[in-house]
Subunit: 291 residues, 2 copies
């Protein structure tokens, strides 16, 4: 008999991340059975039709029954409610993990709910696209990407090992990190760029109404922003509020540099401007290569 | 005998734009002969080796000799000097055009130098990539893109017709617009996004030095910014300074929205945050489709 990493996996929130994880584990032969839970009936139908899940339910308690592994994959501020609703059906020794982009706040929200006999392994697969829903899921989403696990003092070693094996089976490179450090890093390299993209697009929208005909000339730089800024508004609302302190700190840092750049332009300081632009290009050269 | 749109084309600045225009016109059979002028000898060698130009010179006056069409394709603040240096060799009835991303300032700089018998047709092909130099040039760069022409009261109709035919031959859709209007539109949809991307990348650079290990997690949103921010620093220094007023105006608009977003996050206003993000997504849906 085959040895599975997970026997029955319950995915609460069968969107891009939850759905892709299920597909990746199936493809790797790492899971025997997948149960999907979602607030959207039509999304569950897509998940069933695409073979992402074997069974589907809108009731978390029903969906997690007999699951040895439960993955919370809802927007981060919906996780507490989802876990609360799942508790009546939760197996006593279930391992619970999540895929939230913010870790400290999620841990504070959900760890107090985790039964003594169960285990929580907070996690964040650093991968995604601007598309959402089960329809957008694909099995290779996590391949070659980092998955950050942020175990707490209460996280048992055996549970950490199992969640590590889960993400390895999905093709990810697993790293461990303290939750607060994770949140400060993500505030800068992920959450800040999204805030910038949303603001950029809103600026154009405001000007478009004043001036008209802006959009037809929006080749080049602007399109990249609109892609990032088309990510799910609810998901990003939740991330912004859950990582508030670190994000505001990063946003203030951006604002300070923005004002500096404006001053260079206003004063016509050629040298300072060129240096400002050169510095950005130098960083790009230091980025790790991705496929 | 074939009827060419241009008999001898002189391209001053054989970079991505100038080089791609020469390649596009050659491919379309729209030009008999191309002369290239550049400050970089090695770039001229690439242009000759790739068959972008038939002859090459570092001396503008020599390069423009007998040319019926001269294209200024240097960074915008180098155009005045380039045209000045070309004047001794300029054919009396030459048509001069440029490809600068800013129009009012360029016109103010170069129009006074244009001899009475010659003609100036200011232009801006709205196309580009973050790569520069003759090595990056390719013939399809302008295909399906807009080229904005901003004729001045001094621009003769016959010259406008010829430059329109030039860009049509390169595959562009030509539109005419008042120079100031062009600059205000580009300040928002092109120049502002570049300033944002540079500032974003500089922010990460500053934080990377403090915190370390940021870059390895820079999947997703951030990479798009680094692409835009790797554009040529000198070119963007020139654009920022040449379109100073409109750009500062757009930057201030961005800053106002940025502060609003920070306030929504700081106060935890869920509804306002979601609206801020939804608004951006709605705009994307209205963008014209590109291939």
């Amino acid at each position: 008999m085959a040895e599975y990493v997970v026997n029955k996996l319950a995915v609460i929130g069968v969107g891009l991340i939850g759905g892709s994880l299920a597909l990746a584990l199936r493809e790797a032969g790492a899971v025997a059975q997948v149960s999907g839970v979602d607030v959207s009936e039509s999304n569950l139908e897509v998940a069933l039709a695409r073979g992402i899940v074997d069974s589907a339910s809108s009731d978390p308690a029903e969906g997690v029954r007999d699951a040895d592994m439960v993955v919370l994959a809802t927007p981060v501020r919906a996780m507490r409610r989802a876990l609360e609703a799942a508790l009546p059906g939760l197996a006593p020794d279930a391992v619970i993990t999540d895929v939230g982009s913010v870790k400290e706040d999620v841990i504070a929200q959900i760890e107090p709910l985790v039964p003594q006999t169960a285990a929580l392994v907070p996690g964040h697969p650093v991968a995604g696209t601007e598309k959402g829903g089960a329809a957008a899921a694909f099995s290779s989403l996590f391949r070659g990407r980092f998955c950050v696990l942020t175990p707490t003092p209460r996280t048992p070693e055996h549970a950490l090992d199992r969640v590590r094996a889960l993400w390895n089976a999905a093709g990810s490179q697993v790293v461990e990190m303290e939750a607060g450090r994770h949140d400060r890093i993500m505030a800068v390299v992920s959450h800040l760029p999204h805030m910038v993209a949303y603001t950029m697009v809103d600026t154009v929208e405001e000007r478009e109404r004043l001036a008209g005909r802006l959009l037809e000339f929006s080749a080049g730089g602007f399109r990249d922003f609109t892609r990032v800024a088309s990510s799910d508004p609810v998901m990003w609302r939740d991330i912004a509020l859950s990582n508030r302190e670190a994000l505001l700190d990063a946003m203030t840092c951006f604002e300070t540099l923005w004002k500096t750049l404006k001053e260079h332009i206003a004063s016509g300081d050629e040298k300072a401007l060129e240096d400002f632009f050169i510095r950005a290009r130098a960083l790009r050269a230091r980025l790790p290569q991705v496929k």
